[in-house]
């Protein structure tokens, strides 16, 4: 039997399409991940007769959710506790918008977990304690009640626009993986809506009932070297002859054309490129390789370990000062993580793996 790394599930019969234990576990962990938010109404915009002492709302928000989906509960809180009746009637939710207390505008279409991680890495290059080391501190948001800067927010502040953006991201991820969007467009309307309902209700089963039809599987059939890797032959299409030996795992994580990944650096830019699951030599594309390819100045190639000697039979590479580190779903991701596995197990609900890079402090 081939080797299974720590990130892979126990061997299973090739025909068994049920999700293995580890895959299900990491999907569940990603889904259940939450981040602490503190939402404070801009004091200058509070309507007359508001209860100023209470104009702050704390929520532990799901990473896979979106700000427009938090609006109803925030609104309910403000109407019940902070605003008086006259103010409640005059305020229009479509005029509301958020920024972080440092002035960063929050986009409606970013998953909340990504907003949090992207801000976390920003604090690693700013004076003051980095959010990465004080994870119990909530992300402080300011809620504005009027004059949204629509040109910068890009989307309307409602759940429908957010849903459209979410579906767009799922289709883009589908296209990245397979070169077409047949899996997504092949879903019935009720199933497509089920994905969004799953997010809205934060219902893992409802979401994965449909998402399992479009997300790559991790069961078996990772091509082992030696032997031609099926998907490294060409980025644009796999010759049918590559599928000779084992029965092809049509939807396997290591058979995709490319893994949907975006790399976020502190204060930008966001980098997206094709990320094949396997390298030319057939070995898995690791996070270390990905980072070294796209941000070599922050993730320089590791110097090789010295040759083994009698006194040091298991030499380790010389230690060097680490400049930066990757966060995936808020977790410090091991550099030997395989990109294909990340794509199947730690992607967000929109299908994308978001790798946020923090800068190490001395």
């Amino acid at each position: 039997m081939s080797q299974y790394g720590t990130t892979r599930g126990p061997p299973q019969a090739a025909k068994d399409r049920t999700t293995d234990y580890h895959t299900a576990l990491f999907r569940r962990l990603s889904w259940e991940g939450t981040v602490p938010l503190e939402i404070r109404v801009d004091p200058n915009e509070l309507p007359a007769n508001s209860d100023r002492g209470l104009a702050c709302y704390f929520v532990q928000a799901p990473r896979v959710s979106y700000l427009p989906l938090l609006m109803p509960e925030i609104r309910r809180f403000l109407m019940d506790v902070v605003f008086d009746e006259a103010a409640s009637k005059s305020l229009k939710e479509e005029d509301w918008w958020f920024e972080i207390d440092d002035g960063t505008l929050l986009k409606w279409h970013w998953p909340i977990g990504l907003i949090y991680d992207n801000h976390t890495i920003l604090t690693t290059i700013r004076p003051g304690p980095s959010l990465a080391t004080t994870s119990t501190t909530p992300l402080r948001l300011i809620l504005h009640l009027a004059s949204p800067p629509t040109d910068k927010l890009l989307l309307a502040a409602n759940a429908e626009a957010c849903k459209q953006a979410f579906m767009g991201q799922l289709k883009e991820a589908d296209f990245i993986r397979w070169g077409n969007t047949k899996r997504m467009t092949g879903l019935r309307k009720a199933d497509q809506d089920g994905l969004w309902e799953g997010i809205k209700e934060h219902n893992f089963e409802e979401y994965w009932r449909v998402a399992s039809k479009v997300t790559p599987t991790t069961t078996a059939n990772r091509p082992q070297s030696p032997g031609p890797p099926p998907s490294s032959v060409s980025m644009h299409g796999r010759p049918p002859s590559a599928d000779t030996s084992a029965p092809p795992e049509r939807d396997g994580a290591y058979n995709v054309r490319s893994v949907p990944v975006r790399l976020y650096l502190p204060d930008g830019p966001v980098i997206q490129d094709l990320v094949p699951p396997l390298l030319e030599d057939g070995s898995p594309h690791t996070l270390a390789h990905f980072l070294n390819t796209h941000a070599p100045l922050l993730f320089p190639p590791q110097p090789p370990a010295p040759p083994p000697s009698r006194t040091n039979p298991n030499p380790r590479p010389p230690s060097h000062q680490e400049l930066a580190y990757p966060l995936v779903q808020g977790i410090l991701a091991p550099l030997d993580s395989e990109m294909a596995w990340l794509g199947a197990c730690l992607a967000g609900a929109d299908g994308w793996v978001n790798v946020c890079v923090g800068i190490s402090r001395k």
Binding site: G128, G168, E172, T181, L297, A324, I359, R361
Partner: protein, 145 residues
């Protein structure tokens, strides 16, 4: 026992964190990644359904632009020029000018999906270019929504 008080001081203190503990090498690296890519890529616009057709549909667009800029450019090209009869020397850019009223509201890549408006042309080009072009379809109605 060695205790590094600098690192282990508890949270909640107001002690200012010195910026000097951030590695200058890392900051220099970030600066270099922030530099905008001045190169241009070819974007090819294709009308879908009854959207107005552009006479010129190949454009070189700066790669560091966001997709939002492409959408704005497209709207401007379709609406503004044709709606300006005071420039007689401008050749008609549309097969049927009356269709200009149908402003494109929907844009897609490769007839497949709508990208996020804040994604860059450069990222989209790297992932989705076809024969050296980034194909942007535009429609007056939702087509692959």
């Amino acid at each position: 026992m060695d205790v590094d008080t600098d690192v282990t001081s508890g949270g909640g203190t107001a002690r200012p964190w010195p910026i000097v503990d951030i590695n200058p090498e890392a900051l220099a690296a970030l600066e270099s990644y922030k530099k905008r890519d001045p190169s241009k890529v070819v974007v090819r616009f294709k009308a879908v359904g009854n959207a107005p057709i552009m006479k010129q549909n190949f454009y070189k667009i700066t790669a560091s632009n966001r997709f939002q800029a492409v959408i704005q450019f497209l709207r401007k090209e379709l609406g503004w020029k044709a709606g300006d009869p005071l420039v007689p020397h401008t050749p008609p850019r549309f097969a049927s000018p009356q269709l200009v009223l149908n402003k494109p509201q929907f844009t897609y890549i490769n007839l497949a999906f709508s990208p996020a408006p804040d994604d860059t042309v450069s990222n989209l080009f790297k992932s989705f270019c076809t024969d050296g072009h980034l194909i942007v379809n535009y429609s007056t109605t939702a087509a692959w929504g």
